[in-house]
Amino acid sequence: MSDDDLAELARDLPALDIDPTGAERIAHRAHAALGRRGLVQAVIEPVLVSAAATGVVAWTVLEILAVLR
């Protein structure tokens, strides 16, 4: 059997499709998620970045105060 024969066989496979209600539900959920960032990007990442930035600022302020004393 060649690749062409395989393709010919595959063409005869019954067509499968999800039912329209299921398709509509998936599309609806995907629309809601479109462009929305996942939990890591939307929540955890900003929290970590904010914490790191705050830490650096606090450390800088403390260092400046230590020098000024």
Partner: protein, 198 residues
């Protein structure tokens, strides 16, 4: 994930739309790939309910990742890569579940018609569906991606994370097993032609 330089303008426009979070572009992609992905997922899991869940997860991942797609993303390999990974995860979970339950793992054919076989219109289609179902998942996957989706072995290799020659080997075994399963129903032409290469 899956990128290249030669993307056709229509596909590039869809990717561009997705990157902008455009619903119309998403709907076009959904319409274009829904049946292909569902067929692949249903034939890999042998369960329509699981296929529906995995199809949803595939498109949810596309939706969440849409704005971060590279401009030269090829959608078909991207979507099939996600679908393949979901199938692998599902199969692993199934194996663990079966082991915990002390059941014999595997895809032993049910005595009655499977939901996939029930859609067959003729005995030939039924035999064909059963022959594909009888293939080991690794061979079935390659046969579906090359035979049904018309992908080149190199493209399939990219999706499955394999070398192209490993894909060609699996494809060769899949063809042999299909021919053996189908017997007289298999195309009678000799397998002298070289395999499709990328």
């Amino acid at each position: 994930m899956v990128r290249c330089t030669g993307v056709d303008p229509e596909a590039a426009a869809l990717v561009d739309g997705l990157r902008r979070g455009d619903r119309a572009a998403f709907d076009s992609v959904f319409t274009a790939y829904r049946r292909k992905l569902y067929g692949y997922l249903a034939r890999m899991t042998r369960r329509r309910d699981v296929a529906e869940d995995l199809l949803q997860e595939t498109f949810l991942r596309l939706a969440r990742h849409a704005t971060r797609l590279a401009p030269d993303t090829r959608l078909a390999p991207w979507l099939f890569t996600v679908a393949h990974r979901l199938v692998v995860s599902w199969a692993r979970a199934q194996a663990v579940r079966a082991q915990l339950a002390g059941e014999l793992c595997g895809e032993a054919a049910a005595p009655e018609r499977s939901p996939l076989e029930a859609v067959a219109d003729s005995q030939a289609q039924l035999a064909l569906e059963r022959a594909f179902g009888a293939l080991a998942p690794a061979y079935r996957e390659v046969a579906l991606l090359v035979g049904v989706e018309g992908m080149a072995p190199a493209e399939v290799a990219e999706i499955l994370g394999l070398r192209a020659d490993a894909v060609r080997q699996r494809l060769s075994r899949a063809r042999d097993q299909l021919a053996a399963e189908l017997g007289e129903l298999a195309p009678a032409r000799p397998a002298a032609k070289p395999g499709r290469t990328a």
